[in-house]
């Protein structure tokens, strides 16, 4: 009996002493727990480039330019660090694919015609399983693409009977004003300028039978290669007058609009190819070129190269699947001297881009993190001694080396802190541009030493003001 009563007593007491912190813990949990905040750094590897959602970037293992990097890297960061959230920062080291990627036809869609497609066409197309005239192709296109947009360009892979034998072909067909027409594109060409060409240009070019400036060449190329696309490359052999007339062979690249740029020094001569052990003036594949060129360059070209020197090459790679007279493709390589050898630029030209997580996604961020050091505190004391309203604050800062934030008489208000931040940042970064953001971190005292950070941005009047992230 006694035992039961003892147990009852303890139970009664147990009821009385249940969890006192339950409510407090619930209250704390309800405050949105910030996502894990982290600082990460990524140096792009080949695998990382493969993850990028852009074929060219993945293939070339480099970005074309800064804007492309800013556009494509956030997705990579999000997939690599799914757990990180608002206020995380990331630094990505990546390379540019320097120079021009291969020219490619800007088609809207690629389609490979299947056996069923031929059969569905009926008639001869079905019987022979190929096309033999433009009309047949157009008929097929109308079936396959019933409502194309105006200007729609299709890259079609099909079999064509040219009268002798059926051949695999890749053709480009554009839909304009309810009609399909075949277009051809010039991607990489070799051309030697003829006398007729000079004459056709008129003016001084016709008079002298040579070019004397880039503009003339530009005009000529525009007139000659009307089907050029962005990055189209032309290896042009021509006469050039710069005091005397020389026959030059140079590579020009088209920007897709109306400008051809000379790629200086990029050509590899036949002799060079021979020296590299090639029977023909081309390499059998990209890998071979990338292996041989750095060594060759070092041995032959620049014995006085210094670290950081850059050399661009355009070389030809033989592609056996191509037909016709031009069975090589141009590929471009950019080499950098590191003091002892030449390396492919994409291996040595890491550029850094900073990102910050805004709560939803990663955005390019030019915010610089800056941590105050003792010299900064000394500077603040120096600048603010004697300043009105800062007497207690400065004395306290001088003594303790941190900002008092307890709310007492020597406590720094937010406005006063901003004044101090301005002093430090304007002194340390006199060349900062308007809009530059800094995340200033400094030691404060609030019942213990605590690090506080404030984000500021340089405004139009040359002063830093608090930057409110939530407004973004």
């Amino acid at each position: 009996m006694k035992k039961i009563l003892y147990i009852l007593a303890f139970v009664g007491v147990a009821v009385a002493s249940c969890d006192p912190l339950e409510e407090t813990f619930e209250e704390l949990d309800a405050i949105s727990n910030p996502d894990q905040v982290g600082e990460v750094e990524v140096t792009m590897t080949d695998d990382d480039y493969d993850e990028i959602d852009n074929e060219l970037v993945a293939a070339n293992k480099g970005f074309a330019d800064l804007d492309q990097a800013k556009e494509l890297l956030p997705a990579l960061l999000a997939s690599k660090f799914p757990g990180l959230g608002k206020q995380s920062t990331g630094i990505v080291n990546y390379g540019f694919f320097k120079g021009f990627p291969a020219a490619s036809v800007p088609f809207d869609e690629n389609y490979e015609v299947t056996e069923e497609d031929y059969e569905a066409q009926g008639g001869n197309v079905a019987k022979f399983g190929n096309f033999s005239s433009l009309e047949q192709i157009v008929a097929f296109l109308n079936t396959q693409f019933p409502t194309p947009a105006d200007g729609f360009l299709v890259e079609l892979e099909y079999v064509f009977f040219d009268g002798n034998s059926p051949r695999d072909r890749v053709g480009y067909f554009r839909y304009t004003a309810s009609d399909w027409t075949e277009e051809s594109f010039e991607l990489n060409e070799k051309y030697t300028v003829t006398e007729e060409d000079y004459e056709a240009q008129g003016g001084n070019v016709a008079n002298f039978g040579n070019f004397s400036d880039q503009e003339q060449i530009n005009t000529f190329l525009n007139s000659k290669f009307t089907n050029a696309v962005q990055h189209t490359v032309v290896k042009l052999t021509y006469d050039f007058f710069d005091g005397q007339v020389n026959e030059l062979t140079n590579v020009f690249q088209f920007d897709g609009a109306s400008t051809w740029t000379l790629k200086d020094g990029a050509l590899i001569s036949i002799d060079d190819y021979e020296a590299m052990g090639e029977n023909f003036p081309n390499f059998s594949d990209q890998e071979e070129a990338e292996n041989k060129l750095p060594i060759y360059l070092k041995n032959t070209f620049d014995q006085f190269a210094v670290e950081g020197d850059v050399h661009e090459f355009i070389y030809e790679v033989f592609n056996s699947s191509l037909t016709g007279s031009n069975r090589t493709e141009y590929t471009y390589v950019h080499l950098v001297f590191d003091g002892s050898q030449w390396n492919l630029s994409r291996d040595v030209l890491p550029t850094t881009l900073s990102f910050a997580h805004d709560g939803t996604k990663w955005v390019p961020d030019n915010t610089v993190n800056y941590d105050f050091v003792s010299a900064d505190f000394d500077l603040i004391v120096e600048e603010l001694t004697g300043a009105d309203g800062f007497e207690n604050q400065v004395g306290n800062l001088d003594n303790f080396g941190n900002f008092n934030r307890t709310g007492g008489s020597s406590s720094w208000s937010d406005a006063q802190l901003l004044e101090a931040i301005n002093i430090v940042l304007l002194a340390n970064f006199p060349d900062a541009e308007i809009g530059q953001k800094y995340n200033a971190s400094f030691a404060t005292f609030n019942s213990g030493v605590v690090v506080e950070s404030k984000k500021v941005v340089l405004n139009d009047s040359g002063r830093y003001e608090f930057f409110d992230e939530s407004a973004n």
Partner: protein, 851 residues
């Protein structure tokens, strides 16, 4: 609602115990038992000699025992007193039996210590005897044993050994007078009590009395919240001794012994005891080690003179948790409540960044002189020497030791220990530049000696006059020294004008070195009237405090200004009270008093600069009034009292600069607080073997006034600044304003005692500094969650051969309740508050063998 239900549940459960009483016919003998001062002794043992017939005295000190025989002998005994035998014949009263204490000089000490006498001294009182302390203290901090006393809020603070604290009626130890054998032990400069200085006290305490409010002390003491009166053992009359050993949670171990020669033929009696206590501590990084000792030599010179020399102290070192953390930090740390940011690993060893070591022996020579039948003189000459200090961080990069370097992580893992090896490597790499982060020790040695002498004379049969003098001289020696260079070659310190750019090594002084000298003199007198049912007293005291400061670092040794002039302050007080006994069951008392207390040392040199003296620092003014009622019946003792204490002009010093650059001070008056409330406690004993105790303490403690737009004016009559302290109606923080307790003590079997105690705390606000509340729209301080804790203890006595043996097992926080005991307010919100969690379940098991 929850609290009421739970209290009712507990009461119901406990009240359903039944015991069957005895049923014997025969002679009935009655009587009253008191101690030698006339205090009734409830719970004294009455045994009919030669039988097993016995009983205990009730709350009126009365007993009624049945005997089969017509006549015989009664043996009356009580712990702490010598047993007495009394003859009886027939069914009648044997009158009042007076027991004498079994220790030399304890009665005299009681007078010096102004121990209150029940139903006579008009103060609200709770007393704890040694036996209960031994049963319930366990591994708790010494002040925690007072948990079930009304008005008390005691916690372990950070959790380090000896770091506990006690607040009484909302006042911290600055405003609570703690006395050992009548000698005040509050620090002379800061007024605080550091329990780690008194690590061995629990073993040598014979009784501990909390007198709430003004108290009965005659000496000028800061009894604003109350006084805690500790009376130590003196010398045992009986020869003998004991050995004890205990073990407990987190590696706790204690080994002790006690020996008494008893009264020897040459008139001497010697008692000594010692103990070694060590363990890892409940909180991480709070390993501790203490050796405590006690020696008391008494000599009865003749019938009129007794001399007693006592020395006790404890040398201890313990790791501390000084830093508080946010609640979320504890939750996220793997270590939970045990999380402590103040320690690290160095070469695989736990190294305390915050630790404390101290040794403060207290030696006193007590002389009791029975001058005549009506007059006696008690004198205590005492000396205490404290040495030691607390460590902490130093150096320009000391933030490494607290992991507060932006962008860097000096912890091994999240919320992990500090990576001291890394700091060592970095200091080493600095080569000839020396260390930039070190562990330094703030040393606070002190020595004080004094004399406290009380003359008591009976003017008439009913009127007693007491008077006395209390003088003391204190020197506090404060400096910092390098305690661990953490790998560097030296530490550069440029704070000593007598030795600039010092390349300090371990043990060298850095940062500051100054002495504080306090001379104290007090006079007191008290008149007591005691006739029939009325007892009253009036007492007056005056004190003189003289402060001096010597600065060895800021002033050249050749500079006479190295030592300041003596700044003197006068304090005084008067109080009176009366107790009226309506009948043998009920009494009522009232007391009222006013006193002014001299400002603390720190208010006189607020900027630690000898040249900047705040000589006009103001006294604090305290007014208190209290009324109480007591009931003593056979089975029930109950008290209820109502108090009102006004604490005015809490020291508030505002520092500003004059035009010529010198510092000046303004003493702001008007920071006032009002602490008032009701306290109720009871003890109910339905049967001999069962006692229920309980208390409820309801406090209403608030800051009362705003200080608005007080202009600070300099010598040129310019307004330098304006002071605002907006605290009106803000509750006093850092102590539970509502506390309640319920306890049960049951003799499960004749030699086995079980106690269960429940304590509930409510209305605790996170601590804040009133001086910092300058803005009108600040939130009230965060109210901490209320909590309830259950403790239990079990003791069993048996004999091993000839030796009386006791085993005691104790468990605190039986249900492992998670709670926050201390918090510092930061803006009024839970998520920002900096807290210490209370300990989880702790236990200890000990055995004591007497011989």
């Amino acid at each position: 609602m929850k609290k009421i239900t739970s209290l009712v549940a507990v009461l119901f459960c406990m009240a359903t115990f039944t015991v069957f009483g005895q049923d014997v016919a025969g002679t009935v003998v009655t009587g009253i038992v008191t101690d030698n001062q006339g205090s009734l002794l409830p719970g004294a043992n009455i045994l009919v000699k030669g039988t097993s017939n016995g009983t205990l005295t009730d709350f009126n000190g009365r007993f009624s025992v049945e005997s089969k025989e017509q006549s015989g002998t009664l043996v009356v005994s009580y712990i702490g007193f010598a047993a007495k035998e009394v003859q009886f014949a027939g069914s009648k009263s044997v009158g009042t039996i007076v027991l004498e204490s079994d220790s030399f000089g304890l009665d005299e000490v009681m007078i010096v210590a102004s121990v209150a006498v029940d139903r006579k001294t008009p103060v609200a009182v709770s007393t704890l005897k040694a036996e209960e302390i031994a049963l319930k203290l366990g591994t708790q901090e010494f002040p925690e044993v007072l948990k079930s006393t009304p008005g008390v809020y005691a916690t372990k603070s950070g959790g380090g050994f000896g770091d506990g604290r006690i607040n009484l009626r909302g006042f911290n130890s600055e405003n609570v007078a703690v006395m050992i054998n009548g000698v005040p032990i509050n620090d002379m400069e800061t007024g605080r009590v550091f329990w780690s200085n008194w690590a061995g006290l629990s073993d040598v305490t014979s009784s501990m009395q909390v007198q709430r409010g003004l108290g009965a002390s005659k000496v000028a003491v800061p009894s604003i919240g109350g006084t805690i009166n500790i009376v130590t053992r003196t010398t045992d009359v009986e020869k003998g001794g004991n050995v004890s050993m205990s073990t407990g949670n987190d590696g706790y171990q204690k080994y002790g012994f006690s020996l008494s020669t008893g009264l020897m033929d040459n008139g001497y009696a010697v008692s000594i005891s010692g103990a070694k206590t060590f363990g890892e501590g409940y909180v991480d990084g709070t390993e501790f080690d203490a050796v405590s000792y006690f020696v008391n030599i008494s000599k009865e010179i003749n019938e009129r003179h007794t001399l007693a020399l006592s020395a006790f102290g404890a040398k201890q070192t313990h790791g501390q948790r000084q830093s508080r953390s946010r609640i979320e930090d504890y939750r996220q740390s793997e270590r939970g409540r045990k999380y402590n940011p103040d320690w690290g690993f160095k070469q695989g060893q736990v190294t305390h960044i915050e630790n404390n070591e101290f040794h403060k022996p207290q030696i006193s020579l007590n002389h009791y002189w029975d001058i005549s039948d009506r007059t006696d003189l008690s004198t205590a000459i005492y000396y205490s020497n404290g040495s030691g200090g607390g460590s902490g961080t130093g150096g320009d990069e000391r933030d490494k030791l607290t992991n507060n370097i932006p962008g860097e992580d000096y912890r091994i893992g999240a919320f992990g220990p500090i990576d001291l090896d890394r700091i060592v490597a970095e200091n080493r790499a600095r080569g000839a530049n020396g260390s930039s982060a070190i562990i330094r020790k703030s040393v606070n040695n002190h020595n004080w000696y004094g004399l406290l002498s009380t003359l008591k004379t009976s003017l008439t049969d009913h009127l007693t006059l007491l008077g006395g003098v209390d003088v003391r001289r204190y020197r506090g020696i404060h400096f910092r020294e390098v305690s661990d260079l953490l790998g560097g070659q030296y530490f550069l310190d440029d704070n000593d004008v007598n030795n600039p750019n010092k390349a300090a090594r371990v043990g060298d002084k850095i940062d500051f070195h100054n002495d504080g000298i306090v001379n104290w003199g007090g006079l007191f007198t008290q008149l007591e009237y005691d006739k029939d049912n009325l007892a009253a007293f009036v007492s007056v005291n005056a004190s003189y405090t003289g402060y001096k400061r010597i600065d060895f670092f800021d002033k050249l040794d050749s500079d006479p200004a190295q030592e300041t002039d003596r700044e003197t302050f006068i304090g005084f007080g008067a109080k009176g009270g009366a107790n009226y006994n309506f009948d043998e069951y009920q009494n009522v008392f009232v007391n009222v008093g006013y006193f002014e207390r001299a400002p603390f040392f720190r208010s006189v040199w607020p900027t630690f600069d000898n040249d900047a003296v705040n000589a006009e620092a103001e006294n604090q003014k305290i007014f208190s009034a209290e009324i109480g009622y007591g009931l003593r019946t056979e089975k029930l003792a109950a008290n209820i009292n109502v108090y009102r204490t006004e604490w005015n002009d809490r020291t508030e010093v505002f520092t500003f600069q004059q035009a010529d650059g010198t510092q000046a001070f303004a003493n702001i008056l008007g920071v006032n607080a009002l602490h008032q409330g009701v306290e109720f406690d009871f003890s109910y004993k339905p049967f001999d073997i069962l006692t229920f105790t309980g208390m409820v303490s309801v406090g209403d403690w608030t800051w009362t006034d705003d200080i608005e737009n007080v202009n600070i004016i300099n010598e040129e009559q310019e307004v330098v600044d304006t002071v605002n302290i907006l605290i009106e109606d803000i509750p006093v923080a850092d102590a539970a304003q509502f506390t309640s307790a319920l306890g049960m003590r049951l003799e499960v079997m004749p030699e086995t005692t079980l106690t269960v105690d429940y304590n509930y705390y409510d209305r605790i606000y996170a601590d804040f500094d009133p001086s910092d509340r300058n803005t009108a729209d600040a939130l009230d301080p965060w109210q901490m969650p209320s909590y309830g804790l259950v403790d239990a203890a079990l003791r069993h006595n048996f004999t091993i051969g000839d030796f009386e043996t006791t085993i005691t097992g104790r468990m605190n926080n039986v249900f492992d309740t998670e709670y926050i005991s201390d918090a510092q307010d930061r803006g009024g919100l839970a998520q920002d508050a900096l807290v210490w969690f209370g300990a989880g379940r702790t236990f200890s098991l000990g055995a004591k063998i007497k011989f």
